[in-house]
Amino acid sequence: MDVVRFYSNIIKRNMDKPEKINKLINFGLTTAYYYVSIFKDKRGPNSLHYLTKYCIKSIKDSLENPQNSAWVNIFSPCEFLIALDIKPLFIEAYSSFMSGFFIEDYLIDTAESRGIANTLCSYHKTFIGANELKILKKPEFMLTTSSICDANVPTFRYLSKKQNVPLYIIDVPYKYSKEAVAYVKNQLIEMVENLEEVFKRKLDLDKLREVVKIENKTRTLINKYLNYLKEKTLLVPMTFEMYMLFASHIFIGSKEMLKFYEMLLDDIKNAPPRSGKSIFFVHLLPIFEKNFQDYFNFSNKFHIAGSDLNFDYLDEIDEKDPFRGIAEKLILNTFNGEMERKVTRIRELIEKIKPDGIIQFCHLGCKQSIGGTFIIKDLATKMGIPFLYLDGDCVDKRNNQVGQNRTRLEAFLEML
């Protein structure tokens, strides 16, 4: 995409003018938004079209209205923000978009030059770089959980100090117990008090219950969708699975995301029966990796059977006591706690979806995920499904050894 390159060069040339960059990025998002609104990609289903638009708009909205926005990580309980009508900006998504604009390298180098470890996850480095260069307007609030990875607490603490913006850290215990639930519930209450003070509005409990109700409805649809994956396939790009994180995490509980899953369910019901080979992804998909793009985007030979990150919590939340219910959701997330939990969930998903192969793309810097690679490999072996792990980076394209990965990926796909 030469237009994008051209645009990224303009941005890079102006890095010393934060105001201008901010405008350029907003402009890029607006253009992208109108582009996808007008030129619908005919290869993909309606739900893809709807979701893409929603995701771009949500980022645009929070960037353009910093006075009503909060920076969050992907596991933050955004139900409260939705109920309070605050716009979350989730930093992993922002970084991903910056990689889409081809400026992640510049942002990452900036973060590293300030002393941030070069082995840190690039989702975090990119965001920190953007913050260092002041191309992000400061939000009113920041919110992070200590789950799922080590990067969250220190990154947010660093950002909040730099920007002088209040931060709330929700410490999610490793194990489930009644004390752990009480601990998190208390933190959620404290967090809401902080939000109310900063944004000068009161949380309406009924509204929160409504959000949770929609969330529960949405999860029923997610479970239904899962049941179709065994026999049907949608032709989608890898970005779809990643955009879905907006729907399964940050914005779950909103009416729009309920609508998305309704559309998705329609799409999959009407999709052709499964053909070709289907690959299940552990954790993340490398949307900017050339080989993967070539092989998986809109391909009916190899398609994406899903990623466990979109199915990390599949139960109901207690509508009567949403604080407690959400606390439980945070602790019982399959990515939290022992690896055993995650393994169990992946096993369930594999049994349901019956993919032909499993790929774990080991995102450089993601210790929580790569640390378990060999355990997932064992699981795959036990279940008799081919497993491949490849090292690379989902954001920083410089870390992808495209040539080397090609041989391994092709050999794996040939094997299926």
Binding site: A117, L120, P154, P173, Y174, A180, K367, I370, G403
Partner: protein
């Protein structure tokens, strides 16, 4: 024996069981067995712990839910040990958090009771706590150097303590005085849980640590560990805030690494006057400096008027001492003098500790600074790129070293990098150094890592790219690594480049174009360290 790693471990409980808690260290030669179970990019400390557990057959281990790497270590060990427990350690310390931790401790006691089939006597426990709390010594920050950041191995801490006369306070995971505030006996365990959570918070805790580290220290040594990212944030914040001497080190927890670390710490002490150099009475004669580097051994001899009367450069053989003798002999012959004519010898470089005939050892950092300033006193920044490492040294107006950085333990951007590439290109290193200018295509090598860059070069060759353009790209790559080191301490001219790579015209001009300034290149860039050493030998005896 019960192995543990974290300072929040309830070791007093283990002791009350009559068992011996042992903190697992992680010094080892290779991670072969660990990397069969854990991905290579896991923190090197955790891999070392795993090696250690396997090697020493440790059967009982207690961990905390410290970080992602430790959590995965638990997952890997779970089915492999007789007893393993991971304690859920909260990041906060409010009453709810204390409840969580207290319950965890109780559960641990139950699990251990069941495993050992023995009881837990609360009286023993109380006694142990009282013994530990009875003494506590205060240390004065203004007289101390603080070690902050990631855990530092005990032996390295010991060596640091021995190499200077000031107090060292170790704030890392390995050094905490355990003080317990046990008021009521009726809920001893709960009070204990609360005391543990109230230790000086480590990086992982939610609390902001900056208030714990006041600015009164004489100096700060900040440690980071490869693939542990926690600490870089605090480092990034601190380094711009503090006005006191600050040294960042990166350890990788293998045995091989501690030599380099100690060199840097010694240089830090020298630069900050924390360790005063001993001074002797004046004598006349000749003075020698021996720089025993990893690639070459260089000797310089000066006379009492600081004239260089001879020098030698030879490749360092497998035995550093032999090479040092040889190089010394050559230099003596060149000068036409005998060993007895030499008044004083100073050794520097990696191999300096193994040169018994030297009167004194000084780090190569101080020596390089000294030598460079002597040659050109306008120099404020020395860029030294040798065979296996590179460093950048900042000098003040009087030639004192005030800051420096070294590359991480990796050959990217060093002479070794160029050597590997010349082999890949099938040309000699001299030939490679010659070619420059007239670039047809501006290629960029993206990988910094030698191995990856090599495969990039191979594919460039396959694409039939012009050899000169590839060389130009490689020179740029070395230059950008060097300039990024410079940027870590900030730019300041004039610059002098030393070390073997300074003879490579291509690299020199690539650095010059990045810095936008001409570099000073000494006539013989490889002997600057040895020259500095000789000058120190001279000053030591005449100053």
């Amino acid at each position: 024996m019960v192995g543990y790693v974290c300072k929040y471990t309830p070791v007093e409980i283990i002791e009350a069981f009559g068992e011996k808690p042992v903190r697992i260290e992680s010094g080892c030669k290779s991670y072969e067995r660990a990397e069969a179970l854990l991905h290579t990019n896991t923190c090197s400390f955790v891999k070392g712990v795993l090696e250690n557990i396997i090697e020493n057959n440790i059967e009982e281990v207690i961990l905390t839910s410290c970080c992602d790497s430790i959590k995965r270590l638990y997952d890997v060990l779970k089915e492999r040990l007789k007893f393993i427990y991971i304690l859920d350690l909260p990041r906060k310390k409010d009453t709810f958090a204390v409840d969580v931790f207290y319950k965890e401790i109780i559960k641990f006691i139950d699990a251990y009771k069941a495993f050992k089939n023995k009881g837990f006597a609360i009286e023993n426990f109380l006694k142990i706590l009282e013994d530990k709390s009875s003494f506590r010594k205060m240390q004065e920050p203004s007289e101390s150097i603080a070690i902050l950041g990631a855990r530092l191995k005990d032996d390295v801490v010991e060596k640091i303590k021995n190499s200077c006369s000031v107090n060292i306070i170790n704030f890392t995971c390995t050094g905490e005085d355990r003080i317990f505030n046990i008021e009521s006996e009726d809920n001893l365990l709960k009070g204990y849980a609360a005391s543990l959570l109230n230790l000086t918070p480590c990086m992982r805790m939610a609390e902001d640590r900056s208030k714990f580290f006041n600015k009164d220290f004489k100096g700060i040594i900040y440690n980071t560990i490869k693939f542990c990212d926690y600490y870089s944030y605090e480092y990034a914040e601190m380094k711009s805030q503090f006005n006191i001497p600050f040294l960042k080190i990166e350890t990788d927890y293998t045995d091989s690494n501690s030599g380099q670390i100690l060199t840097r710490i010694a240089a830090f002490f020298e630069a900050t006057d924390i360790k005063k150099m001993e001074q002797k009475k004046a004598k006349k004669g000749y003075f020698a400096g021996i720089d025993s580097g990893s690639t070459s051994t260089n000797v310089v001899i000066i006379d009492e008027n600081k004239n260089i009367i001879s020098y030698s450069i030879i490749p360092t053989g497998p035995k550093a001492l032999e090479s040092a003798f040889k190089a010394f002999e050559i230099a003596l012959n060149n000068a036409g003098i005998k060993e007895k004519d030499i008044t004083s010898i100073v050794a520097t470089g990696y191999g300096r500790v193994s040169i018994p005939f030297a009167d004194k050892m000084v780090t190569e950092i101080t020596c390089h600074g000294k030598g460079a300033f002597f040659i050109d006193n306008r120099v404020r920044t020395v860029i030294d790129i040798g065979g296996q490492d590179s460093k950048v040294i900042r000098l003040d107006e009087s030639g004192n070293v005030i800051d420096f950085v070294m590359n991480d333990k990796c050959s990217a951007g060093t002479g070794r990098f160029l050597e590997v590439m010349s082999r890949t290109l099938g040309i000699s290193i001299n030939e490679m150094a010659k070619v420059h200018a007239e670039v047809k295509e501006n290629i960029t090598i993206t990988s910094m890592c030698t191995v990856f860059a090599e495969s990039e070069v191979i594919s460039l060759i396959a694409q039939n790219k012009d050899q000169r353009d590839i060389i130009h790209a490689l020179n740029k790559s070395v230059a950008s690594k060097a300039v990024s080191l410079v940027d870590r301490i900030g730019r300041k001219g004039k610059y002098m480049m030393t070390g073997g790579v300074a003879k490579n015209q291509g690299v020199v001009s690539a650095i010059e174009s990045k810095l936008g300034e001409k570099l000073v290149i000494p006539a013989e860039p490889q002997i600057i360290g040895a020259l500095g050493a000789a000058l120190i030998a001279f000053e030591g005896t005449n100053g």
